[in-house]
């Protein structure tokens, strides 16, 4: 039997005057992820603890948190990686809080929706079979399509903290995902959504977002590309 000590930031805005940290000792055998540790606490020690979860395999983006001062997915973080000592678990900072480790993601998804996150094309002229796409064109999508919308990048971005309307790295990465898709024909349709005071110009390439991303994606690269595309379109009216 091994033991891990969890120090968890607790706050229920409905009933608590101020946040506090609670400490729990979790016994375990073999291996323990932070998410498993949280479940053990919720089941055995404190039924009021709450956090988000679903896949427990780092693909759904539910369990993003701030663990020992870093953005991580709780399910993907094994306590053995944390090199002993207390495991400090906090909600993603700079986001409104619902309770304990659960942040309010309403704005995050509203911004996602704002950039028209779907393929835009003249569907009446679609072929019966697939729209051809070369492996080379498809490769451009490799990075942005792996985004799991966990929100780590968004929470880490100083431009989001400073300007609540800024769309932030995840939404812009999604815009990029469609803009670089050879099948997308949005042209100028999606442009006003990111070529404005809410969009790409708020990004000062501080790359906190790149550091924060648990899927090792690069939102900054996407944003830089969008900046270039916006300039090209303004100057030449060209699509890609």
């Amino acid at each position: 039997m091994s033991e891990a000590r969890f120090r968890i930031k607790r706050f229920d805005p409905a009933s608590d005057a101020a946040p506090r940290y609670d400490t729990f000792v979790v016994p375990y055998e073999g291996s323990l992820s932070v998410l498993e540790g949280l479940f053990s606490i919720q089941e055995r020690d404190d039924g009021s603890l709450c956090f988000r979860y679903c896949c427990r395999a780092a693909v759904c983006g539910s369990c993003a948190m701030y663990i020992n001062g870093r953005y991580r997915l709780a399910c993907q973080t094994n306590v053995s990686q944390l090199h002993g000592g207390d495991i400090t678990v906090e909600p993603m900072p700079h986001l409104p809080l619902i309770k304990d480790l659960v942040c309010d993601m309403t704005d995050f998804f509203a911004k996602y929706e704002y950039i028209k996150p779907w393929l835009i094309r003249d569907e009446d002229h679609d072929p019966e079979g697939e729209i051809a796409q070369s492996p080379r064109a498809r490769r451009k999508l490799d990075m942005p399509i792996d985004c799991i919308l966990c929100g780590c990048c968004y929470s880490s971005c100083p431009s989001v903290w400073g300007e609540e309307n800024y769309l932030g790295p995840a939404a812009l990465l999604k815009a990029y995902r469609f803009e670089v898709d050879s099948r997308d024909e949005a042209g100028r349709q999606r442009l006003p959504d990111f070529d404005n005071e809410r969009g790409v110009y708020r990004c000062h390439t501080i790359t906190n977002c790149v550091e924060a991303c648990p899927k090792e994606l690069n939102p900054t690269e996407g944003i830089q590309w969008l900046k270039g595309a916006a300039v090209r379109r303004r100057l030449f009216g060209r699509r890609k």
Binding site: C55, R56, I98, W118, E130, R138, D146
Partner: protein
């Protein structure tokens, strides 16, 4: 009280596809989901989705008929053949539609959708996006739902159905964000809540795949079908049961025992590692039982090293990440310890090809339903297909139902209030109870019982013990209580309510398995090793009985295209 024409419980592939269909026909539809739809378990699917596109050079003469045959044979002849044919016929169109909506499938040099070999399939017909196919398909449908402005109630946990004079007219849900319960009234309800993997201790499924949605229908009197058929996937990671896709073997991976043998040679000499899942899982388990697990332990190796770093990076990048993060081994340089793990719930709410259930106004689709297209053993790549094909059909069926007199009859306010009151009372009772039993203990004992007594190999005595155990847990259940009452994001309450459903779903599996005195597909009995078409070429229906085990009945299988034969690979 919230009102919509159609309420869909579940925002995975099945629920979203139904929503997009109904919304497109002008229906006022709402999706209610426990997690943001983009976080649904469909997103965890890795390997791919089947359709006879004949894009792979080796599959140029593939057809939907051949796809249907492989599916029926894979099902050990328990699938309904008309439903299978419907699905395989619709498959190519389904793939093209998802592609037109932006799904980033992997491609061949000529720009067409790439296809890989999968177990039990005569041709390479599994379309894929690297090893993240479910994530790409799910995000594509989420995007289409946003595009069509489908109303979404996110982080609402549905607790029960509102039934008025035997017809389903809405649901009650717990609002996880604000706390408290709400009634949603509607003309029709579709349940699309996914599988029941978490009734087993060793599952690849998400933590929210509890089977609770199926239990809601079951408790309301709708039969569950074929629950004894539970798929064990050959390759779950040893420590966590996280899936390593069949695509690993489709791309050429080997299964290796302690002696370094590719042991599948003994069990399926022609197709080797690409035998269907039931056969491969049993082969691995036999190796382990006979002491040829690695170091005599209960796992074998999935060896991908010979594929090389480049192929792994291109075709199986997610697998590599998972193995590194969750098992601490890099498949490029090390073999991966794997063990057969509970993976898929073939059974579910009894429906026809349009998602219609025994209760007017109630539809079901996706893994929580049983059409049945998988019969006694599902082929890899057919489940994603099922969710989208039958999601669309269920959406369309509701549109016709509303047009043909089903519209304008949501639950009256009094009925909604009564249903709301019933849930509230149930929860109040749980919060007041002086608990003498612990819900998490019961949950723990249940999942271990399912793993040990209703696993890959089954036998009467062991199953009888398992049933006795489950019944004793059911008897203890009324003595549990909540540790935490009220408020937002009350996980204790959600997980306690879930348990009540899970236990009944588990019992349906257990009793169905005990009664079926034959071996078919995933249901392998050491005391009845042969398939028995004379007595058992029929579906099992389980009817809920509050105070004991379910009552079972049979239902004929739709045959007609393919004569049942012995299944050899």
């Amino acid at each position: 009280m919230i009102r919509h024409q159609l309420v869909i419980v579940g925002g995975g592939l099945a629920g979203l596809r139904a929503a997009v269909e109904a919304k497109g026909a002008g229906i006022d539809v709402a999706v209610i989901s426990q997690v943001h739809p983009g976080r649904s378990h469909s997103g965890a699917a890795q390997g791919g989705i089947n359709a006879a596109l004949a894009n792979n050079p080796e599959s140029h003469d593939d057809t939907p008929e051949k796809h249907a045959f492989d599916t029926v044979k894979g099902s050990d002849y328990l699938a309904d053949q008309d439903a299978v044919y419907q699905m395989t016929q619709d498959a190519p169109q389904t793939i093209f539609e998802m592609e037109h909506w932006g799904c980033p499938f992997s491609r061949y040099d000529d720009g067409r959708i790439a296809q890989r070999p999968f177990g039990g399939a005569g041709y390479p017909r599994t379309c894929y996006g690297a090893d993240k196919t479910g994530h790409y398909l799910l995000h594509t449908l989420v995007e289409q739902a946003y595009r069509r402005q489908v109303a979404m109630y996110i982080e609402r946990f549905v607790t029960s159905l509102i039934v008025v004079e035997g017809e389903c007219r809405g649901v009650v849900a717990y609002d996880m964000i604000r706390g408290g319960f709400e009634a949603f009234v509607a003309d029709a309800v579709i349940i699309a809540t996914g599988g029941a993997g978490r009734t087993y201790a060793n599952t690849t499924n998400a933590i929210i795949s509890t089977g609770y949605g199926a239990a809601m229908a079951y408790h309301a009197g709708v039969p569950l079908k074929d629950m004894e058929f539970v798929q064990f996937h050959p390759t779950g990671l040893y420590t966590t049961n996280i899936l390593m896709t069949e695509g690993c073997r489709g791309e050429g991976g080997y299964l290796i025992n302690d002696l370094g043998e590719r042991f599948m040679e003994r069990y399926a000499p022609t197709v080797m590692e690409l035998a269907p899942r039931d056969i491969t899982a049993r082969s691995i388990w036999t190796e382990i039982l006979e002491g040829r697990g690695i170091g005599g332990k209960d796992f074998v190796y999935l060896d991908l090293r010979h594929l090389g770093e480049r192929k792994i990076a291109e075709k199986l990048p997610g697998i590599r990440d998972l193995a590194i993060h969750f098992e601490g081994v890099d498949p490029v340089t090390q073999p991966v310890p794997i063990v057969p793990s509970h993976h898929y719930t073939m059974g579910g709410i009894d429906t026809d090809v349009d998602g219609v259930t025994a209760m007017p106004g109630l539809y079901a689709v996706g893994e929580c339903a049983c059409v049945s297209v998988h019969g006694a053993n599902r082929l890899g790549g057919n489940s994603l297909l099922e969710t989208i094909v039958f999601g669309r059909r269920a959406g369309r069926a509701v549109v016709s139902f509303l047009a043909d007199g089903g519209a304008g009859r949501p639950a009256p306010e009094a009925a909604a209030r009564a249903a709301l009151g019933a849930v509230q009372e149930r929860v109040d009772r749980l919060s007041r109870a002086a608990a003498t039993e612990d819900a998490y203990d019961i949950r723990g004992e249940m999942i271990v019982t399912m793993k040990q007594n209703f696993g890959i190999f089954r036998e009467a005595r062991q199953m009888q013990e398992g049933i006795d155990k489950l019944l004793s847990l059911k008897e203890r259940l009324p003595r549990i209580g909540l540790r935490h009452a009220g408020g937002a994001f009350n996980l204790d309450m959600i997980r306690t309510i879930e348990l009540e459903g899970m236990l009944d779903v588990a019992l349906a599996t257990a009793v169905g398995a005990f009664k079926r005195t034959e071996s078919r597909g995933s249901h392998a009995r050491t005391d009845y090793p042969n398939r028995d078409d004379v007595h058992w070429l029929e579906h099992t229906l389980a009817l809920y009985r509050p105070d004991g085990p379910p009552e079972l009945a049979g239902k004929p299988v739709a045959l007609g295209m393919f004569e049942p034969q012995e299944r050899k690979y």
